[in-house]
Every structure is written in C-alpha cells, then in structure tokens.
C-alpha cells in the first residue's frame, strides 16, 4: 500500500508511516502483554501487570517525546510508553523472567518497574504516586538551565489520591514547570471503583492550580496524541504544565495475583471490550485504507516473530546469582 496523506494523518498532522508505527507499537504492547499472561499461567513467570486497554493512551502520549532527551516517569502499566521510547520485547521478557540482563533492574524489581538511563526513563517504584514530585524536580532542572526538555509522568487515577500528586501539581503550577501529568483513569484501583476514590473530577482539579486540565477519551489514540502533543508544545514553549486525564478501562485483572471476579461484573468488562482501543484504531486505519488484511497479517506475523524470539532469548538468559543481591547498594565516586 502506497504511503499517502490520509484523513487520519491530516487530522492529527501525522503521516501514514507514523500512523502505522503507532499501530505497530500498540499491537506490540498488546501481544507482549498477552504472552506474559500465557507464561504466567504456565508457571514460567511469577507476576504480570498489564497494559491491556491502556495502549492508546500510552503510545499516543509517548509518540512525540524525544527519547533520551525528554524525561519519563512511567508507572507499572506503561509498557506501551517504554516500547514507543525504544525498549524492546526482549527487554520486557528479560524483566518478566527476572534475568540478569533485565535492563530495568537486573531482576531486582517486579516486571513493570521500568528504568533506562539511555532513554531517560527514570527508575520506577511500586509505592503509588511517588513519581510526581520527582518529575516536577526534573522539570525544574530543565527550566533552570533554560533547556526545552519536558517531563512526562504517569499514573492511574488512584495515584492522584495521595499527597504527592497534589504537592507536585502545586509546585508545577507555581513555577510553570515543563511537566505533563498523564492520568490513566481506568475506573478501578484494584477493586476500588472510581466513585470511592475520586471526589469531583481529576481533570477538573487542574484549574485550582492554575494549570490547563484536559480530559480525553483514552481509547482514542489520535485524541491522546493530539492532547499530549499540545501539552508538550506548551511546556517546551515555556507555558508550563498540563494535566491530562485519559479515560479508559483495565481489560485484565489488576495483576496476575488478582481475581477481579470478586468486584467486577462480566457485563461491564464486555461492554468495555467493545471499545478496545486497539480494535478501534484498527477499524479506523482500515477505514482510511491504511490497513488491510494483507499488511495487517504481515504486521502481526512480524510481531509474533519478535515476541517468540524475545521469549526464547529471555528464557535462555541467565538469572542473577544470589550474591549479586549484595551489589550496588551505594554508588561509588
């Protein structure tokens, strides 16, 4: 299929190749995630935490970052972001299987706790919300040096309930820091539904800090892309932070340790499956004739090969030796 200006591209100021790239990242994230569950069910992976349902938010937001220049503070679901930035399926499976070569932590942290010095992915934590003041500080450093770097920091809707989010929003607002708070609101925090988690609305809180607040359909990758791009541009131009609340739904259980039948109705999940952001973007690309059976299969096959290779590689990679637990407690120098 020839690369041509399409409706989608025009709307989002994206070329066809960009659109297909975005699709590929979303699909890769989905397939890596699915395979992770298979490995878990087979007893080969101790723990999975999923990005399924969040791919549009993550790839859409990350696509206009400058890897290795801008900083990113992702959270545990952000596989779509780290893949878009340049991590690979291999990286993910090395982490899932706790191999020494795991680029995030050499098997120290759970999967989903991303880190890359090269890609400026700042080592992620498990305690929810701690990344926000850190992200604000990183943005302040850019501002102090007069650089145009931006910082993207992400979390679920429950990550706004803790004090750190508020303290960071306030600080970002006071100093007009180049930081984007991306809240991936998937309606649940493990079992706790949004109405028991959030009073008022998340996007609606931005105004109280003098910050633009944008609510966006998190299952619409191009809408997220546009909202994020505008926010990055504002930040790069010295116009300060933006809060983006992207609404979606978690398509899997919270993690492989969770049984969501305790607290979610099957019908609710089914309803949201109809709005699956990946399927939706697929339909869109078909409509604008960027995707057809043929190239779709081609892409699928490519990704499958990539995933197969990655799993194989990771499974045969060595684990860290026990004593390595003693290393790297303090930095030297």
């Amino acid at each position: 299929m020839a690369i041509k200006e399409t409706r989608a591209g025009r709307e989002a100021h994206l070329g066809d190749d960009d659109l297909l790239k975005i699709y590929r990242y979303m699909l890769l994230a989905r397939r890596v995630d699915e395979r992770s569950w298979v490995l878990n069910r087979q007893g080969r992976a101790a723990f999975v935490v999923s990005c399924q349902g969040h791919e549009a938010i993550q790839v859409g937001a990350a696509y206009s970052l400058r890897p290795g220049y801008d900083y990113v503070y992702p959270y545990y679901r952000d596989l779509g972001i780290t893949l878009t930035l340049g991590q690979t399926a291999r990286d993910q499976f090395l982490s899932l299987l706790a191999r020494r070569e795991d680029p995030n932590s050499a098997g120290r942290q759970m999967p989903g706790h991303y880190s890359s010095r090269e890609l400026n992915i700042v080592t992620a934590s498990a305690p929810v919300g701690v990344q926000y003041p850190q992200a604000a500080g990183t943005a302040l450093a850019f501002k102090m040096r007069g650089e145009d770097g931006v910082v993207l920091t992400c979390g679920g809707e429950a990550s706004t309930s803790g004090g750190d989010w508020h303290e960071a929003m306030n600080f970002a607002g006071i100093h007009g820091l180049p930081v984007i708070f991306l809240i991936e609101n998937n309606s649940y925090a493990i079992s706790v539904p949004e109405k028991m988690q959030i009073a008022g609305s998340i996007a609606g809180r931005a105004a109280g800090y003098g910050i633009p607040g944008v609510e966006v359909d998190g299952n619409d990758v191009l809408a997220v892309y546009k909202a994020a791009k505008e926010a990055f541009e504002r930040a790069r131009g010295g116009d300060g932070p933006t809060l983006i609340e992207a609404k979606t739904y978690r398509l899997t259980a919270h993690s492989s340790d969770d049984d969501d039948r305790r607290y979610r109705e099957r019908e609710e999940i089914e309803e949201w499956r109809q709005r699956d952001p990946l399927v939706r973007f697929e339909r869109y690309l078909e409509e604008v004739e960027l995707l057809d059976e043929e190239n779709k299969e081609e892409i699928e096959a490519g990704i499958k090969a990539e995933v197969d290779e990655a799993v194989e590689y990771a499974e045969s990679a060595p684990q860290a030796s026990p004593e390595e637990a003693l290393d790297l407690v303090y930095a030297e120098g």
């Binding site: 684990q319 004593e323 637990a325």
Partner: protein
C-alpha cells in the same frame, strides 16, 4: 476449638470484635468488596456493611489520620495498610500524631486504634512487597508494636489491640499467613500485649525470634535437640515495643548465650535493641558474644528467586549460628 491458619485466626478475631462492639470498624484499600488483597477481611463487608468495612482511597496518611479522628469520636478503627512497604506516607500520622495524642494532651485525648500491617518477604514480592519495617516504629513512646506469629496468639492479641486505649501496630508476616494451622479457641479470649512467650525451654542457648524466622528457628531447635542434644530455649517477643525485657533477660541469664534472629536488614534492626538490653543487663551471665542474624544490609528482597532466597535467613544459616553459639 478448630484448627486455623494465622490468616483465618486474624479474620475471625476481627469479625468477633465487630460483632461484640459496634464501634469497631475496618478501613483500608480493597478491604471491602474484595475482602483484602490477602483476603483477611473476606466476608466482613457483607456482614457489617460498606461503612463499617470501608474501602478508602489510595492514601495511607489519610487512612491513619482518619482512623485517629474516628478514634477520638467514639469509634475503634482497625486500619489496614495493604503492604508494610507502603506505610511511610502514614509515618507522620503514626509516630508524630497517634502515638502522642495522650502525652501531649496530658491524658485528655487517647487514640484507641489498631493498624494491621502485612510485612515480610514473599516470592515475587520484590523490593516493595517484602520489607520488615518494625525498626521504624520500635522507638516511638506511646505506640505499641506487636508481631504475633502463631494463630491463637494472633487472634487473642488482635482482640487486645482493638480493646487497648493506645495505638497499636499489628504486624503480620505474609509468608506465615497460611504456613501452619493450630487450634484456635472459639470462645472469647484475649492474649495480653507486652508479654513474650517461651516456645521451648532449653539450657544451652537462647534464641529470640519472631515471624517466619521463628518457625525456622523452632524447627532447627528440634533438630539440634534430637541430633546433637543441644537444647535451645526459643523466646518469641510477640510484642516488639515496649519489649518484655524480663522474659528475655531471664532466659539470657539462664543460658548465658543469646542469638537474636529476624528477617529485617541486620543493621538498625530491633535485634540490635534486644542485643543491647542483654549486653547491658545480663552481662554478668554471658558466656559468649550476643549474636545477631538478619538479612544483609541491602534495600530489600529482590524479585528474582535466587536473590530472594539469599536474602531471607534460612535453615542453614540459623543452624550454623546456633551451633557456633552453642559451641562457643
């Protein structure tokens, strides 16, 4: 009497206290509909409703702060911190607030509240679902810190904690939740806070331990008795703060050799305090160095199983330490 796991005993203790005292309530993340990530509170929301078993926002300072506010207005809240690793945001409300209401108001205000805190390393838990946090709190006058290991103790001590007029931190080692079962009384009973328990008498050495390491220590003690005739006295503090010094010192004076073992990073652990007490107050009776065994001084247990297993003091290390001390 039926046999129950630690997890079941705690759940049952909670339910009984809620039945007998309307002011007892539970709050925390996922404690309601889901029944807790470990299922300790399973069934409670159904029985007592969504207010008395309340799912809170993800905000640990709020959870403890609100519990304080509830406790001064007639309630007896039992707050759950989902994992010990996530207790730091509540640190201020615990050590600077709850623990001090009574003292700073010259006895006018007290905080009868309990904070349940699952702790300890588990497979797959990694750096932030594994920590032994007791040392952070065992220097806070006004607070009680308990860490029962056995089901019947846990149920009885939970009841004491809920009925206590002071704030009590109630530590539950996750790896021991389902590890053993034992007879747990059905009738109402309470096990007092502040009293250590001697699990096993012995003349040769004293081992002070709690949590998972206590189970291991007791196994090794049986083995050493059977195989080598070494008789180990095993003391479980049960309450870590304030300590039952008397029981520990009595044993130390009897055997003259003390090993303190826990799963916490060695340096700065509660074991250090126990060792210091022994070295100061039982010095004349000592026949060997006061030994400690703990996890290495690294941030916490890693995700990769080989590193995790290396982190937690295991049977071999405990046996080696006991033998070293016995032969000293």
């Amino acid at each position: 009497m039926t046999t129950k796991s630690l997890l079941q005993a705690i759940g049952e203790g909670l339910a009984e206290e809620m039945r007998s005292d309307e002011s007892v309530m539970v709050l925390g993340e996922d404690v309601g509909r889901a029944g807790g990530v470990f299922r300790v509170t399973e069934g409670l929301q159904k029985e007592f409703g969504p207010e008395r078993v309340m799912d809170t926002p993800l905000a640990e300072s709020l959870i403890v702060g609100a519990a304080i506010g509830l406790s001064v207005n007639g309630m007896r809240p039992v707050a759950e911190i989902q994992f010990a690793d996530f207790i730091p945001p509540a640190f201020d409300q615990i050590v600077n607030e709850a623990a001090r209401f009574y003292y700073r108001s010259n006895g006018a205000w007290s905080c009868p509240l309990t904070i349940r805190v699952p702790y300890g390393a588990v497979h797959g838990g990694a750096l932030y679902h594994s920590q032994s946090v007791e040392a952070w709190f065992c220097n806070t006058p006004g607070l009680k810190v308990v860490a029962p290991t056995y089901p019947a103790d846990a149920k009885g001590m939970l009841k004491s904690a809920i009925r206590d007029p002071n704030p009590v931190l109630f530590l539950e080692h996750k790896r021991t939740y389902r590890l053993i079962k034992e007879d747990v009384p059905e009738e109402d009973y309470a096990v007092p806070l502040g009293e250590a328990r001697v699990h096993r008498e012995g003349d040769d050495i004293t081992v002070v331990a709690y949590g998972l390491v206590l189970h291991t220590a007791l196994e090794v003690a049986e083995k050493l008795s059977g195989e080598q005739g070494i008789e180990v006295e095993v003391v479980e503090p049960r309450t870590l703060y304030p300590l039952d010094k008397e029981t520990i010192l009595r044993s130390a004076k009897k055997t003259g050799k003390v090993l303190i073992a826990s799963e916490a990073n060695l340096t700065g652990s509660v074991s250090g305090e126990i060792a210091a007490v022994v070295a100061a107050e039982a010095f004349e009776w000592l026949d060997g160095p006061v030994m400690r065994l703990g996890a290495p001084d690294v941030p916490a247990a890693a995700f990769a199983k080989p590193m995790l297993d290396f982190f937690v003091p295991g049977e071999m290390e405990i046996e080696a330490a006991m033998l070293e001390l016995a032969r000293y």
